[in-house]
Structure formats: C-alpha cells, structure tokens
Symmetry: C2
Subunit: 351 residues, 2 copies
DNA sequence: ATGAAAGCGCTAACAG
DNA sequence: CTGTTAGCGCTTTCAT
C-alpha cells in the first residue's frame, strides 16, 4: 500500500497506441470529432487495459468548466433544506454536474466565506438561500459571470440572477380562509420573530383573510416569540417556541378557537403543549401549520397545513440555473411557487 | 451584463508590479518562502486593486490537491444522514476542504457512478455509507490512493480504509434490558427487513438480553416487514411499516407488553397505530425506539429510545479521513460508537 | 530574495 | 482523418 502509482494519462495511451494525445482526447472525451473506427477501438482498448481514469482537473483548467455548482443553505439538518438540496443534487447529477454543499449556520460571515471559496473553486453557478442582506460580494461575483439563483427568501438587491420564491402571503391567506370556512371567527397566530419576508408574508395573508371578512385582529392572539435564535437546534427551537407561545394564549380569559402557526414544527409544539394541558385538538382548539413537513402526517392528530413544495423548489432552481449556464437568453427570472391546502385532522368544523 | 471580462491572473499582477509570477504566487498563496516586505506589500495592493481572485483549477492541477472530499449517502432527506453530513461538512470546512455531496438513492449503480465521478474529480477522500456490497471498484480506487472511510454499515471486504461503526448489537441489548428492568417479560420486536448488519445487530442484542434472562422468544411477536423498499419516501415508508407491523401484533390473542422497534420512525408508526386503535402508551403497551431522532421528543408520549450519535459520526469520520490525508501512520482504523439509553415517557414500569 | 522556465493533464486551434 | 503545438493558471525547482 501507499504505493501511489503515477496515474496514467492520455499521453501514456497515445504513446502505447502510437498516436497523438489529441486523437486520444478526441476519443476519450466523447468529442464528435471524426476519428477512424480502427484507431478509436485501439485507443479504447488500451485505455481500458491501462485502467485509465481521466483527470478532470486538466479538462477543467483548459475548458474552464468545473461541472460543479455550489449550494449554500442555512443548515442541511433542517428537513426543509435537505429536501431542497435533494432536488438540486438529483437535477444536477442528471445534467452532469456535481454539488458542493455548504452550510451557513445563520452566519453572514460564514456565508461570505463560502461564496468566496466556491467562486475560487470555479463553480459554474450558485444556488443560495441567503440569510444575509449584504449583496455587494454576490453582486460583484455576478458581474464577473457567476450565475446565481436565490431560493425561498427574496433578495431584492440582487443585481441579476433569478429567484425561486414561494407565495407565503397567499399561503397565509389560504390557511386562514380555511379556518374561516370551517366556521372559526376567533383565530390566533403564533410565529417566530417576524424578521424575514417569509414570516411577514404569512402574517399579511392572515390579515388579508380576516379583513376580507371584517374580522378585527385581536392583538392578544398574535404571539410573536422574541427569543433570539440561539445555539439550540433549529427544529427543537421552533418546537419549544410553539409550546411557549401557545401557553400565553391558553392563559387568556378569552381564547381563540383556532391557531395558525408560522410553520409545522411550531404547530407541532403547539399541539404538544395543548395535549399536555389537556386541551383536545381539534375538538377544543383547531390548529393549522405551514410547510407540510413529513412529520405532520405521522403525528396524532395529523396536522392540517399548507404545502410548500420543497424538492420541487430544488429541482426548479437547479433547472433554472442550468438553463442560464447553457443559454444566453433567459426566459424566466422569477418563479413563484404556489401554496396548497392540505387538510388533515387538526381543524374542526365549528357551528 | 454578459460582459464576462477575462479574469485577472497572477501573470497580470506580475506584469503590473514588474516582478515574476513566481514571486506573486509566493505571496498570494501564503507560501512561507521569503519575499521582501516591499514587494509583498506592492503585490497585495495590486492584487486587491485588480480584484484578483485565485483560480483554484490551476493550483489543483499543479499540486494535485483538490481540497475536496466526496460524501455518498443513500439520501440526504433522511434526517439521520443529514445530521451526519452536517458533521462532515463542518469538520471539512474547518480544515479547508469542501464537500461534494452525492445521493445514491439505494441504487448500487448510481453509487458506482458517483464513486467514478468523484474519483475523476480528484477528491482527496471519500466518506461513504454504502448500500452495495460490491467493492471491486472501491478497492481498485483505494489501491490507487483514494482514502475512504465507511460509515454506519460494515464493509467487510474493504481492502483498506477505515470505518466508523455503531454498536447496534449492544444498542439492542440495552434497549431490551431496559424493558426487562421495567418488569416486562413479554417483549416484541418490529423491524424492517433484516438485510443489513445494523438491523441484524439490533435483533441479536435483543436476543442476547432475553436469553440472559432465560426468556424464550415468541416468534409471533417478532414482526419483520417483507415489503421491498419502494418508491416511497423512506421516512414515510418506515412510519407505515410500523403501523402495519404492530397491527399484526395487536390482533394476537396473547399480546406482548412492550415493543422494541428497529428505529424511531418505525416506533412512531407503532405509536400512531396504537393511538388509532385506542391502546394507551405506555399504560397498555410500552414502546422503545432506536436512533434518537429529534422527532422523538416532540411527540406525545415522548419516545424512549437508544441514542445513535449522528453528527458526531460525521465529525469523527471526517477527522479520521483528514488524518489519513495528512499522515502516513494511521493510528486508528475503526471506531465503534456506543449506544446510550434515552429514557422518556413511552415505557412504563410493570409490577 | 528574485526570476526563468518547466510542466501538472487536458483540449482545441491549426496545419497537413 | 491525424498530428503538432500552444496554452489554461498555477506552483516549484533551479539558477542567480
């Protein structure tokens, strides 16, 4: 072992076949440049015999095509992003690209570091769910030819590049509308800090639906967590959030009959706390979530929610990026994915 | 836009500073080769002025160091693997490496394809949770100098390379022991097909504990799913599995008082079905899972389980790989991570 | 302390 | 159809 044999190159093959590296390259790189059948066969045979494996570094330097794309997400352990990334990787692979995965851990500095490394590594494109709003660096790279597509969170200052968004506002509207149609008039909203377009959007949709039905918003039923997102794992954090926030509502003299949560994990925290307090869902209180994570259909009662297509988001974003890599005229610059109501068992009809 | 300016290279800088590319390289690549302060400063200044970004392809070709490692897992959307990958990526980044992420989707062919691509892309190492048992290819690459570390599933035929394992057998033993200590004597085991060392290990531990206490195994209480893992998402699949398997047990005239599941997702399916059937956990039946996924503490009753350190597995495996990249004498070739009992509320004391 | 030059493995003009 | 050759951007030996 540790006998790291010098690896065989097209030069070795050329020598053995008594031809040129150019011809070998033409054959082995699947170029459509004409090469006689005879030579071709011989080259392939020798390549196999020598156990040749192409070194992509060479090609990469020459062609300036790394066949790699970078993906930056807050954390791959968040099931939302792992679904997105799955969609991206699959699509990338089918098109001959590889994915360099980076976790930004909610840190703008780390995000910048990743962007720089990826650019230096010559990724041909970047898919990013950015948590920062400083785009100088990104814009700089974009103007140098880097293709970027932003997912989920709107990056308004982005010079160029495209976005895959999700209509959170409509999602909030649909969820609230569903509650209204089930007869609820006293509806609460529990949410993590409204420091992101997504969460603000849901809240706006919530208000839209209420106003449309001439229902006043009861401020006491709007519970916003003020904790800073800390060291805790995000999922657990949101779960705990749901528990804490619903407690404030339960203690109110006048309780709402239904709750909308800013995401499923928070909704599950709500469910858990209600169960702990002996409040039956949906009989005594209805709950609707937001995201449609798998978990929602595994718990009891199964969680009604708003579907946010995750893997599709990955697939779309990657396709969009690839299109930009291969063509000059970009047809589409923005896709807004649509929310969809998923009815399960956590919302009751009220009479 | 689309003005893809030719990017600036060390040659451009050398020209402007009126020095050689060698010196520029020495300064900009943080080599410890001596360069006068004066020149150094001038080079750095010009580099900044020209907005220089190093092209790693050049370095990579020259040094044959891609500073990238490959990671192949069945599916990143499986929370187990996303935790592992998070640990890997973090560790890799801290050491200047990037991660090329691949999903094998339980397909040996795809796995092989990924291994080939990664090798061609000159990854310096590979961390793999293999689903195949054909190692000819892997062994071939290993003998060509590729460093690989296998995680979770034992790869016995691996020529060289190291493994990070988990003591599933002891885990199964500890879980069963816990049930026994809580007074249970009638214990069932529900599991996905026992086609993997991990699942077989748990079952052996289960048997070890029972035999140790002179308890005969009741075959009817051992439920093995025979479904082929199909197109369904794995999590949902396991959840459904749990539901189906426990149904067979519920219908028995003589029911066990406690159930061990081969993983938490299956256990949660069991919980869900028991709830649906009106069987109270843990009062009427105790359930213990295996894995300690986050979900387990969010449901009600919170799931007692066996902790399988996931992120740590990623960190360890990456550190082990990096050690092998940098040193010749490998101290450790195998790490076996230890299971740990997590007591929550799904197991009752029996008198 | 600095520079000239070779070359990593590959591709792609260009010439024949 | 085939070969010659010039690099891609960088590092590194060797000479100065």
């Amino acid at each position: 072992m540790i006998v790291i044999k010098k690896s065989v190159t097209i030069y070795d093959i050329a020598k053995k076949v008594e031809t040129s590296t150019a011809t070998v390259s033409r054959v082995l790189s699947n170029s459509n440049y004409p090469v006689s059948q005879e030579l071709r066969k011989k080259i392939i045979k020798v390549a196999k015999a020598l156990n040749y494996v192409p070194n992509m570094s060479g090609r990469q330097l020459k062609t300036n095509k790394s066949m790699a794309i970078g993906v930056i997400v807050p954390s791959i352990s968040n099931p939302f992003y792992s679904s997105v990334v799955l969609g991206i990787e699959e699509t990338a692979r089918k098109n001959g690209y590889n994915v360099l995965l980076c976790n930004s851990h909610q840190s703008p500095e780390l995000e910048i570091e990743h962007i720089q490394t990826l650019f230096q590594k010559q990724v041909q494109g970047l898919i990013i769910s950015s948590i920062s709003d400083k785009f100088d660096l990104l814009n700089d790279y974009i103007s140098r030819g880097l293709n970027v597509v932003a997912i989920d969170e709107k990056l308004d200052n982005l010079k160029i590049g495209c976005q895959i968004l999700f209509d959170y506002r409509k999602g909030g509207y649909i969820a609230t509308k569903h509650l209204l149609e089930k007869g609820h008039r006293k509806i609460g909203y529990v949410t993590a800090p409204m420091d992101r377009p997504s969460r603000i959007g849901i809240f706006q949709g919530f208000k839209d639906a209420l106003l449309e039905n001439n229902i006043m918003i009861n401020e006491a039923w709007i519970q916003v967590s003020n904790n800073v997102e800390g060291s805790l794992n995000k999922n657990v954090y949101e779960f705990k959030n749901g528990k804490n926030l619903i407690r404030n509502i339960i203690n109110l003299p006048d309780r709402p009959t239904a709750i909308l949560a800013c995401n499923d994990m928070t909704a599950i925290g709500v469910l858990n706390e209600l169960e702990a307090q002996g409040i039956k869902v949906p009989d005594q209180m209805s709950v609707i979530g937001f995201d449609n994570i798998e978990l929602g259909e595994m718990i009891s009662p199964a969680l009604s929610t708003i579907d946010h297509p995750k893997q599709e988001m990955g697939v779309f974003s990657c396709n969009m990026l690839l299109e930009r890599l291969n063509e000059d005229n970009f047809k589409i610059n923005e896709i807004v994915l649509q929310p969809q109501l998923i009815e399960r068992n956590s919302v009751a009809q009220i009479y």
